[in-house]
């Protein structure tokens, strides 16, 4: 039985997943290759990202530090990784301006990754001496212990610019409201949907969900990275097409003569 042999090698009920995964990755990689070959997409303005340089510049002018919080989760979370990549861009700008950058973190591994990335950014900006590992320090793994530190540090150090880029939970509003109270420019980015309303209410700019993941590609300006953003758009188009097709078919099924009334499960997912 050839079929049986195949089935035992490849999990059959995962076929749909395989197709969708391959299509998504295909779109992104193809656009990346196309961008390398010269077809670089124009990316729309993302207000929060255009404000990064302004915020760093303002902190430098005022002689006050910049605070960067890469979320409170560990490196297994994609949001933390995205936050660290944004950190490297912010650190590059801060190194150019010679501004002070504070990065308190709540996970040891994140501290490690943040140090590596800030050091690399300083080197790239031609300011290797600007990098100070003690400014990137571990506070505590505890969510509210970390928030207690951040709130206190904000009240005392009065950073002029605050970045919150990563995975946040309830502490989001503690950070954002205290930052607001000291009059800092605040730019937040997260994909934690429950916290988005609070960042939207309290920060000057908020990168919502997918925008946050696009941030590092956008800030890098590298053609192949910008290409991946167009790949995401193509995948989005395919999803929209699939959705419209599905909806049309479902509607036809209801309208076709002799259709049975939709069961509650079909009406309300």
């Amino acid at each position: 039985m050839v079929l049986g042999a195949e089935a035992s090698f490849l999990n059959p009920d995962k076929l749909l997943l395989l197709v969708v995964l391959a299509a998504t990755c295909g779109c992104i990689i193809a656009s990346m290759v196309a961008a390398r070959a010269g077809s670089v997409p124009r990316i729309r303005r993302i207000a929060g990202l255009e404000a990064v340089e302004e915020a760093v510049g303002r902190a430098t002018e005022m002689g006050r530090p910049i605070l960067f919080v890469p979320g409170i989760q560990d490196m297994d979370n994609p949001m933390t990784v995205a936050g660290i990549t944004v950190l490297s861009r912010v650190a590059g700008t801060a190194a150019q301006y010679d501004a002070t950058l504070d990065v308190p973190v709540s996970r040891s591994l994140v501290m490690q990754a943040a140090r590596e990335s800030v050091q690399a950014a300083a080197l790239q900006a031609g300011q290797p001496d600007w990098y100070d590992p003690e400014r990137i320090r571990y506070i505590t793994d505890e969510q509210f212990g970390y928030a207690a530190y951040a709130a206190g540090a904000m009240a005392r150090d009065k950073p002029a610019a605050c970045f919150y880029m990563g995975c946040f939970f309830a502490e989001s509003l503690i950070l954002a409201e205290n930052g607001n109270a000291i009059g800092a420019i605040q730019i937040a980015g997260t994909a934690e949907t429950a916290q988005l309303p609070f960042f939207v209410a309290s920060c000057d700019y908020t990168l919502i969900g997918e925008e946050f993941f696009a941030a590092s590609a956008y800030l890098s300006g590298a053609p192949d990275q910008l290409g991946t953003l167009r790949g995401q758009d193509i995948a989005k188009g395919l999803i929209a097409l699939a959705l419209v097709g599905g909806v049309v078919m479902a509607t036809m099924k209801v309208l076709s003569p002799g259709a049975v009334p939709a069961s509650p499960a079909e009406v309300a997912p």
Partner: protein, 231 residues
């Protein structure tokens, strides 16, 4: 060289996890890797703890403003580690009363439990509760009907706030049954069911695409900032 090996590890690790769900032989792999990560994160505490000790000791020896607070942090840290790792005051577990170390470190009555209950819980849960105040000041400041978008935010929050308390019943409870859909508590349900569902779904789909794209950038080494600067 070291960076190239790191990029190779990243690529191979990522590809392996990408194909593992499709191979029946690989079903336990995701859990195994998660376990490894947890062990790694636990060992990394040495780095985090080292950083904490170093920063606080530096402040303490410099005798700058607030050095006393550094001493308090150090003391709290060391005492907690000591009573927790040493299971101070822990009695043996009921399943093995003869094995002295069998109890859990946070069993009722132990020193670690006392610290958790009377130091950590009140502080962290009060910080959590302080959010009620921040919610108030954020709402006061941000919910202004400046434009259509801000007004939608404002009106929705309004309906939910009213619809989820007795006030909603008082204000619109008189509406007849045929118009019961307009009662505040039912409007709140409709908003959750329709608008919130649609908005959340699109955000979630977008995030999934963002995760996929970020994953590809990391695996292919387009984004390698976490690997540091020198060769």
């Amino acid at each position: 060289m070291s960076r190239s090996i790191a990029l190779l590890i990243c690529l191979v690790g990522g590809l392996t996890m990408l194909v593992s769900p499709f191979l029946p032989m690989a079903t336990g792999w995701a859990n195994e890797v998660t376990d490894w990560f947890n062990i790694l994160a636990a060992m990394a505490f040495v780095l985090g703890g080292g950083s904490l000790l170093k920063v606080q000791l530096m402040r303490l020896s410099a005798r700058g403003p607030g050095w006393g607070y550094s001493a308090v942090t150090l003391l709290a840290f060391v005492v907690t580690l000591w009573v927790g790792l040493g299971k101070v005051g822990v009695v043996a577990d009921a399943s093995a009363p003869a094995v002295a170390w069998s109890g859990k470190p946070d069993d009722e009555g132990s020193a670690f439990w006392w610290i958790y209950l009377y130091v950590m819980t009140p502080i962290t849960s009060t910080l959590f509760a302080v959010l009620a105040f921040y919610v108030a000041s954020a709402a006061f400041r941000a919910f202004r009907a400046k434009n259509l978008e801000a007004t939608l935010l404002l009106v929705t929050a309004f309906i939910i706030l009213l619809g989820r308390t007795f006030a909603g019943v008082v204000l619109t409870g008189w509406l007849p049954d045929w118009a019961s859909g307009l009662r505040l508590e039912n409007l709140a349900v409709t908003i959750m069911d329709v608008f919130n569902t649609a908005g959340n779904r699109a955000i979630i789909i977008g995030i999934a695409l963002g995760v996929a794209s970020t994953g590809i950038r990391l695996m292919l080494g387009l984004d390698r900032s976490y690997l540091g600067g020198d060769a």
